[in-house]
């Protein structure tokens, strides 16, 4: 394709190839490609040519940054859906051996994998000669505290806030990646022949009473199994749904958090947190906004520097032009 490209031929070569066609010389073809005369944009990086780029970057980034910054700071009045997170720090879910310690086939409901989990799960593969379901270190270390939120009303009688368990995992995880093993109606029967992970208090088929949220498709479990990228992370725990347009989801007032403490973190100097947030995609992380503003400002500043330089040295290049 490249060979036939015939851009506007600059006339600096010899005569073009004979149209007769019979001529079979070794004379190379006079095409722009073969003669390396392809038309090209030749940017020359000097202060003068580059400084608009810096200004443009600055002018674009600073408003974006301000926008993001304002948005992330505005998460104050709790209206609309509220996301409830639990946070852990100093927890290395991204450790190489930890990340590998799972069996996706088993989690996908593969019956052979259920009874014969992958070797990756070692040493959490079998317990007392029974295969562990779900196997592996990730499942074994699942977060199992229970968090309850109460609104302490005026009558100091705590009203429990309805926390929605479902809808916190990725749709694809819930419906594609994670499946309970096939078999009879009873979930316990389907998991027959397996044992619970070592650290778990109860087997996988007893995670929840709702059959649509039990076993491998328990969303708390699914969320946990999506291993966090960094040692300090949060995971979606519950949804607080907005009931009506008239009332705020979480009206102003005193709330109490009831934590059923099962999960030890002080061994590894970890910390637990509970976070409430209205938007899922950013959290209250002002970094992006600040970063945009910073990069934009730096760029603008460099643009100014270049402007000065260009102004200063344009004179010299002008004189150069004259003496040419």
């Amino acid at each position: 394709m490249a060979m036939n490209y015939n851009a506007k031929d600059e006339v600096d070569g010899g005569p073009p190839c004979a149209p007769g066609g019979t001529a079979k010389t070794r004379r190379p073809d006079n095409t722009a490609f073969k003669q390396q005369r392809l038309p090209a944009w030749q940017p020359i990086l000097t202060a003068g040519t580059v400084l608009p780029i810096f200004f443009i970057i600055g002018l674009i980034f600073i408003p974006i940054g301000i926008g993001i910054f304002v948005t992330s700071n505005n998460i104050r009045e709790i209206e609309g859906n509220v996301f409830m997170y639990y946070g852990l720090s100093n927890f290395y879910q991204n450790h190489r051996r930890y990340v590998k310690s799972r069996d996706d086939s088993q989690l996908n409901g593969d019956s052979s994998a259920l009874l014969n989990p992958s070797k990756e799960c070692e040493p959490y593969r079998r317990n007392e000669d029974k295969p562990i379901a779900p196997c592996g270190a990730i499942a074994n270390s699942m977060f199992n505290d229970t968090l309850e939120l109460f609104l302490i009303g005026n009558d100091s009688y705590p009203i429990p806030i309805a926390l929605k368990k479902k809808g916190i995992a990725w749709w694809t995880d819930k419906n594609v990646k994670f499946r309970n093993p096939p078999g009879g109606d009873n979930l316990e029967e389907r998991f027959k022949g397996t044992t619970k992970p070592v650290n778990w208090l109860k087997p996988v088929y007893m995670l929840d009473s709702d059959p649509d949220n039990n076993g491998f498709i328990n969303e708390d479990f699914i969320v946990w199994m999506r291993t966090a990228a960094l040692p300090t992370f949060r995971k979606l725990y519950r949804l607080i749904e907005r009931k009506s347009d008239l009332h705020p989801t979480l009206p102003a007032g005193r709330y109490s958090l009831n934590v059923t403490y099962n999960y030890p973190v002080h061994y590894f100097d970890g910390r637990k947190r509970m976070i409430l947030s209205t938007i899922s995609w950013m959290g209250k992380n002002p970094f992006l906004g600040i970063a945009y503003i910073a990069v934009g400002s730096i760029s603008f500043l460099l643009g100014v520097v270049l402007l000065v330089i260009n102004h200063k040295y344009r004179n010299s290049s002008n004189t150069a032009d004259i003496t040419i």
């Binding site: 190379p28 780029i53 290395y92 051996r97 694809t172 590894f268 040295y313």
Partner: protein, 1243 residues
């Protein structure tokens, strides 16, 4: 070129058949093979440097892995005790000890980070080189119309070396010259015949040539070429055809092409054959001819002629017969010709013999000969013969002479042969014009053709007779008594003939003027005749000087008339010598010397060894490009020097040091003397003084043309024997030092082995990049030894081409090959190599930073398949396209400003400094590309791959944008490949992430990309991170572009300016470009006096004005600069700012210089007075910064240490210091010449 000059081959030597057995080198004994040192695997300099940097990368990898391993050990030690939930014990439940874990981690890290070793780089380089080779092959302007050949790249792996050449070693004949001799002028009897018409004719050829190239219809020539091609196997036939064809069509290009095919035997180019005679001389010749024809049968025939006419006549006879030219007729196949030689008429021979000796023997005082002849004639052999051994030998020989033909008669039958011969003769006369001459050396052919133009036609040469045809006199048959062949010591050849008109025995000698002029008959200044002779001689000598100045090869023609007695005496001793078993060569030599005395000067000829088209221009361009050109030739010194003058390698107003030594001691003494001389001129410090290590440091790095402070540099001419001595171990350093000081070096009479030794010496001692170019088998070893070997194709067989890395049709293509393609190849590859290092380091950096957040567990946030495919698919194509197509400086700028080439010589684009700068930038960028997503996703619910995939995306975008900053020309291919890469990445990611929910254990990135595409943070980070990562580089580049541009950037900026400014800049290019102009133009500039002490051994000695001389006499060096000097151009033409405006930059009082420079040297390493910086146009300041920016100092330190190592090897050998100019390169030609010119003025 011994084989060319002296080995005409069997067929040209009919005597060879009778000469008894000969030892021939064949097969592995041939000279070509003996000189062949076997194939050498060539690896380009850039690749060697790259390999070194790859080792650095390996070291870096190990360091990173080690760091990681230690980190992991500590992590394990910290957390395993604490029963952390995320700690995974071994499969048996036991926990790893921290040390074992660290070891495992080390090994894992090596595997994870192995991308740092750019394996893909090697593959990419191969691809890019293949494409470069393709483009070089396809270059239309490297295509030679005449030979229908283009440049061939025979080596695929050293294209970038073409951009770094420092020394060119060139063969002469056939490389610089066309190996076609053309008769230009002659002097006869002290009268010069300038042959103006001939000169005009040659000029017309030149013009016609260029015109025809455009006019020749290409279609029409095809059948011609086809027919020639098909006959190529049958040599004789195709030659005939070729001559005919060009005569018919009249197309010179066609004729040239045809002649090229048959060049090595026939010199059939019309340019050489059709000589336009000088009318005056032609008149004289025909006058001679007529008067001789009239007086043919009178006694003392020549006495009728005036001495001048007699000389003219003899001159042309000498031109015609004093040679070994073989006459063939194109109508007759060669075999027939040869038969004719073998079956020469026996009767004739006998008769000749009898006639030759009978009359003389009667009057001879030399009894032995006389009696011999008498006895011979009466067939009474040996009866009255003195029985000395020598005469016995002679006798045997004579017998042989008689006996052989007799047997020929017996076997073949005489009558039929005679008939044959007669018919041939008729044919020959008929087609006299078709006669073809084949000579061992082209000079001879040229002379014979010249004589033919004056109607003095050589029609036949047999073993013992030569026939010359003149229009009125008809055919004259000279009996050829002896031929004393050419040898390099005598530098002449002679024939002894019996003149048919006068019956005298004449010796015609043709030889180098330097020799022949000394052998002339002493002429007394008493009588008028003697005085006249003297006058003639001095006139001739004057003309000879003129010829030499014009670059013509000069030959003197002389004559000696022998009396019968003299001849008989000489013959006896000569026959003795011939028959002597031992030492016969020496005896023959002596014998020849005895004969060639008391000569009578007839005249001199000037032959032009026609330079190839464009050779002087090419040489001057290459010189401007900072290339040092040495000519190594097997030819005579005189010839070589002539050609060197003709092709502007030597200048008439420059000094030439000639080294001709006859012994080792003499050579050593001469070298010392030359060195002292050079030293006394203040050119450079002598090696004796610079044995210390400190001063040796930069000697290996500096390019050859380093600054010589004052005066023009001399040129060195050395002959083969002296060269042999000079190449001895104890002298080679001195020789090299001397040679390095010289502007050009000419080695004459050198053997193929010497050629290769010289190249090897320069390569190993100076660590310079060398290129050898040649066309013949004798250049093979030199071509093989050099870093780049270039063969000239189509002239002398294929041996040089076979050994070469590149084969060009003509010398002049070297300019485009080096300056354009070499530069491009180097710059492309250098940039690509740097980019690959950057790319891999940056990518690995991302993984490395992550280790800090995953417990140094060698975990990767990037999916394994991305890790594999990233280099292979997503980020491979754009750099390849840039590596193949990028043109950092446009072609026309490169060709008009060859100085840009120096950037390659100085390795400006890819050197340790740039490498580490690049690596640092890569580290920075990876840090940015890691930390922005890290901070953006800090404390979020993001999972490993949902976080890693944006990082990959960011990395890809950063790579492409980085490439965008480094790409100088954006063609549609660049755009497409960049777009394609991004598209491919997203396509592959989307497909891959949707393909399987449970595959790819242990990690499954299912639906990651799809989820990311719905996440605003993904877009926000992907938009910002690359910009943030590249801001510094972009800023630096733009700052560099306007504040301290490199030469290359300046050259690039020139292209931007030139279209806007119409043609004005072009003129200035020419000004800045031609060094000669600068010498003359600068007369009205302001004068600056400078002096700098010599005592500082380090880099500021590169300051060109800091010469020895200058320090001795504080106010000597006058440097003049015109006030109106374009700084931009200046900066370009001379690499460093200091040299860019030396007149201004060094403006200071004579006394103030030393202290000032010392201070500055300490602080910056450069000598620049601050005051001048401010008063100057800012450009020099900018340039100054550019060459010594902060980074550069690091680089220079690195270089320093490296060169020190190199210098250690040379310490004490007397190699002189060369001021370091690796970067600054103060030796821009303009500059040097400028200084040279002004200092001459001051002397």
């Amino acid at each position: 070129m011994p084989h060319r000059d002296r080995q005409p081959g069997w067929r040209d030597q009919p005597e060879a058949a009778a000469g008894g057995p000969r030892l021939l080198g064949a097969g592995h004994e041939t000279k070509a093979l003996l000189n062949n040192s076997g194939p050498r695997y060539k690896r380009s300099k850039l690749e060697r440097q790259m390999n070194c940097d790859v080792l650095w990368c390996v070291l870096l990898l190990v360091c990173m892995s080690l760091f990681s391993a230690v980190g992991h050990g500590l992590w394990i030690w910290r957390y395993q005790e604490k029963k952390s939930l995320f700690y995974v014990p071994k499969s048996d439940g036991s926990s790893l000890s921290p040390v074992t874990a660290a070891v495992y981690s080390f090994l894992t890290m090596i595997i994870v980070l192995q991308v740092l070793i750019p394996i893909s780089l090697y593959v990419s380089i191969e691809i890019v080189k293949a494409c470069q080779v393709y483009f070089i092959n396809q270059d239309m302007q490297l295509y030679d119309e005449e030979t229908d050949s283009q440049l061939q790249c025979r080596a695929l792996n050293i294209t970038e070396d073409l951009g770094q050449i420092q020394y060119i070693f060139s063969d002469k004949t056939g490389t610089l010259t066309e190996n076609k001799m053309v008769f230009r002028r002659c002097t006869v009897s002290g009268v010069e015949y300038s042959h103006d018409a001939n000169a005009q004719r040659l000029a017309r050829y030149q013009e016609a040539d260029s015109e025809e190239e455009e006019v020749v219809p290409r279609g029409g020539s095809v059948s011609q070429r086809g027919s020639i091609g098909s006959h190529q196997s049958v040599r004789v036939v195709h030659r005939t055809q070729s001559t005919k064809s060009h005569r018919r069509t009249g197309s010179r290009a066609e004729a040239k092409r045809a002649s090229m095919l048959s060049k090595h035997t026939a010199f059939s180019s019309p340019m050489e054959k059709d000589i336009t005679p000088d009318p005056k001389l032609l008149e004289k010749v025909s006058e001679c001819d007529k008067s001789l024809a009239v007086a043919r049968h009178q006694e003392h025939l020549l006495a009728h002629l005036s001495p001048e006419l007699s000389d003219v006549f003899d001159f042309f006879i000498a031109l015609t017969i004093c040679n070994t030219v073989v006459v063939t007729s194109p109508d007759q196949p060669r075999t027939k010709v040869r038969v004719r030689f073998e079956l020469k008429s026996p009767v004739k021979t006998i008769e000749d013999f009898l006639r030759r000796f009978t009359p003389s023997c009667l009057t001879s005082g030399c009894s032995s000969i006389g009696s011999l002849a008498a006895n011979k004639s009466s067939h009474k052999l040996g009866s009255s013969f003195p029985s000395t051994p020598s005469s016995d030998g002679m006798l045997l020989r004579l017998e042989e002479r008689l006996g052989q033909p007799t047997s020929a008669i017996a076997s073949n039958g005489y009558s039929s042969q005679a008939d044959n011969w007669a018919s041939e003769l008729a044919q020959e006369q008929e087609s006299e014009r078709e006669l073809r001459y084949e000579a061992e050396s082209p000079d001879e052919a040229a002379l014979v053709y010249a004589a033919r133009a004056y109607n003095c036609v050589l029609v036949e040469r047999l073993h013992d007779q030569v026939s010359v045809e003149l229009p009125h006199l008809g055919r004259l048959t000279f009996e050829l008594l002896h031929t004393l062949g050419f040898d390099s010591v005598r530098k002449r050849m002679s024939v002894v003939i019996r003149h048919p008109l006068t019956d005298e025995i004449n010796v015609y000698t043709k030889g180098a003027d330097s020799v022949v002029m000394d052998l002339l008959q002493p002429c007394s200044s008493v009588d008028a005749r003697g005085r006249h002779q003297k006058k003639i001689r001095s006139k001739t000598q004057n003309y000879l000087n003129v010829y030499a100045a014009e670059g013509l090869r000069t030959l003197c023609i002389a004559k000696r008339v022998l009396s019968k007695e003299e001849y008989a005496c000489w013959l006896q001793s000569h026959l003795e010598a011939e028959s002597s078993l031992e030492n016969s060569e020496e005896l023959l030599f002596q014998s020849a010397i005895r004969l060639e005395t008391n000569l009578h000067l007839l005249g001199a000829t000037g032959i032009e060894d026609r330079l190839q088209d464009g050779v002087p221009e090419t040489i001057s361009k290459l010189r401007q490009a900072g290339l040092q050109i040495w000519v190594l030739t097997g030819d005579k010194q005189e010839t070589a020097v002539n050609i060197a003058y003709a092709c502007k390698l030597l200048d008439h107003d420059e000094e030439v040091i000639t080294l001709n030594a006859t012994s080792q001691e003499a050579c050593a003494a001469l070298l010392d003397q030359c060195l002292r001389y050079v030293q006394s001129r203040g050119l450079q410090r002598a090696p004796e003084k610079t044995k210390g290590k400190v001063s040796m440091r930069f000697s290996s790095l500096c390019p050859p043309s380093t600054s010589t402070a004052s005066g023009r540099r001399p040129s060195l001419v050395i002959d083969g024997r002296s060269l042999a001595y000079a190449l001895e171990k104890n002298l080679e350093d001195k020789f090299l030092f001397l040679a390095k000081q010289c502007r050009s070096v000419l080695c004459c009479r050198s053997t193929p082995l010497q050629k290769s030794m010289v190249v090897k010496l320069v390569r190993s001692k100076l660590k310079a990049m060398t290129l050898a170019i040649g066309d013949g088998a004798n250049d093979v070893s030199m071509i093989q030894v050099a870093d780049v070997g270039v063969g000239i194709s189509g002239q002398e067989g294929m041996q040089a081409v076979m050994a070469s890395d590149f084969a060009v049709p003509k010398f002049r293509y070297l300019e485009r090959l080096l300056i354009l393609h070499g530069h491009w190849c180097y710059s492309r590859l250098a940039n690509m190599v740097l980019y690959f290092f950057y790319k891999n380091t940056m990518f690995v950096g991302l993984l490395f930073w992550f280790q800090f957040f995953c417990g140094f567990s060698a975990s990767a946030m990037i999916d394994q398949w991305y890790l594999i495919f990233f280099n292979l698919l997503f980020s491979s194509l754009p750099p390849l396209v840039t590596g193949v197509l990028d043109r950092d400086v446009p072609a026309n700028v490169l060709l008009t400003n060859p100085q840009v080439y120096k950037s390659g010589q100085n390795m400006e684009e890819y050197r340790p400094r740039t490498f580490w700068f690049n690596m640092a930038d890569a580290a920075f960028q990876s840090l940015v590309c890691f930390s922005i997503p890290y901070l953006a996703y800090y404390d979020s619910s993001v999972d490993l791959f949902t976080w890693g995939t944006p990082i990959v995306t960011i990395a890809l975008l950063t790579f492409l944008l980085h490439l965008g900053i480094e790409t100088k020309t954006w063609t549609w291919l660049n755009w497409i490949t960049c777009g394609f890469s991004v598209l491919l990445f997203f396509t592959v990611a989307l497909i891959y992430n949707a393909s399987c929910a449970t595959c790819y254990p242990p990690s499954n990135p299912y639906w990651t990309m799809q989820a990311l595409l719905g996440d605003p943070v993904f877009y926000l980070t992907c938009l910002m991170t690359p910009v943030a990562a590249l801001l510094p580089r972009l800023f630096f580049r733009s700052l560099q572009g306007s504040v301290f541009p490199t030469q290359l950037q300046l050259a690039r900026q020139l292209t931007r300016k030139s279209p806007r400014r119409c043609s004005a800049p072009k003129e200035t290019f020419a000004q800045g470009r031609l060094p000669k102009d600068s010498g003359t133009e600068h007369s009205s500039g302001r004068t600056v006096k400078t002096s700098v002490p010599l005592s500082q051994p380090s880099w500021h000695t590169q300051q060109p004005v800091c010469s020895l001389e200058a320090s001795r006499e504080p106010s000597t060096v006058d440097m003049s600069m015109p006030l109106r000097e374009h700084t931009l151009l200046e900066g370009l033409s001379a690499p460093a700012p200091m040299s860019s405006a030396p007149g201004e930059a060094v403006l200071r009082s004579p006394g103030g210089c030393p202290e000032e420079s010392k201070v500055r040297a300490a602080s910056t390493g450069r000598v620049t007075p601050l005051s001048s910086l401010f008063s100057l146009p800012t450009f020099s300041l900018l340039n100054w910064i550019s060459s010594w920016s902060l980074v550069s100092r690091l680089g220079s330190v690195l270089q320093f240490s490296r060169t020190e190592r190199l210098a250690d090897g040379q310490a004490g050998r007397g190699l002189p210091v060369q001021p370091h100019s690796g970067r600054s390169g103060l030796q821009g030609p303009d500059h040097r010449l400028l200084i040279g010119a002004s200092s001459r003025r001051s002397q």
